[in-house]
Symmetry: C2
Subunit: 151 residues, 2 copies
Amino acid sequence: MTNCDHTLCKTSALKEAERVCEQLGARFTDQRRNVFEILWQSHKAMTAADIMNEMTNKQPPITYRALEFLKKSGLIHHVTSLNAYVGCIHAKDPNHIGQLLICTNCHNIDEIEPKKAVSELIKAAKNQDFTPSLTHIEMLGICKTCNNATS
Amino acid sequence: MTNCDHTLCKTSALKEAERVCEQLGARFTDQRRNVFEILWQSHKAMTAADIMNEMTNKQPPITYRALEFLKKSGLIHHVTSLNAYVGCIHAKDPNHIGQLLICTNCHNIDEIEPKKAVSELIKAAKNQDFTPSLTHIEMLGICKTCNNATS
DNA sequence: AGTTTGCCTGTTAAAATTTAACACTTGCTA
DNA sequence: TAGCAAGTGTTAAATTTTAACAGGCAAACT
Ligand SMILES: [Zn+2]
Ligand SMILES: [Zn+2]
Ligand SMILES: [Zn+2]
Ligand SMILES: [Zn+2]
């Protein structure tokens, strides 16, 4: 994501969303698109309230339902440590486990797929005879851009 | 934690809490102890409301302030994916990064310290020039006991 | 074409969760 | 013993999330 051509980010995310919905037999309705486009204005996490403020229809149930749908469909991530949401940049792979790098300064979020780390995490879990189904990895810290700026 | 002598868990956690407070120059007051002991009744996560219900003084600010303090002091973990809290079993090491194994069946939480996985996560972050300060690792799944029970 | 069906929306509230503000107390210490 | 910082009690309020239910809309059947 770092130094992205964000117009490209956004259009390809939209295309992907349409594909995913099609595949799920669900509709990419106005409300869902509205939430999705608002989230994809940037790579920053937004709270439900943030999003709601920018919606055409600002009623809570509308917003929460769309968020719920997008999350279940793997198109967005719920950033639990911020209680906020961000568009997923790996939506093509519905089974990916993302490591979210959350900059506490500029609030941008990058998402990487740390295959080796994940396999270590799963190994560690299995050592305790624990069978994981859902994994959250969130790191708060300072991103490259902000690091350079403050030095 | 699995198959623990929980009386032991609890007393050693209390002793540790007293030590940590002492070291921080803070007081392990009645309210803080009340929250802490309620959490340590088990290894299950409890929401703020759950805890509040069992407090001597059931007023929200009392509960939230104690939780905030205990979290900042590293004595409990905020389980962000459940928006709930659980006692930390590695409080002796204030810099540990715990991997929470959260059983969606019995709701017990185990916490392990996956050193290798963590170093891989940090390595992956640094590859993006990201400087992490706080790391959350939470896995939802089925624990050993529940796995055995359902098979 | 008309009708059923299931998904999705609109709307009205209400419940649940978290925080603000401020006066007061308590234990330390200068 | 007065002053200070940490911690509490109390009253509300703000924020976040959910329930409930009537209505609309698009694909699918007859
Ligand atoms: Zn971008
Ligand atoms: Zn993702
Ligand atoms: Zn811990
Ligand atoms: Zn279990």
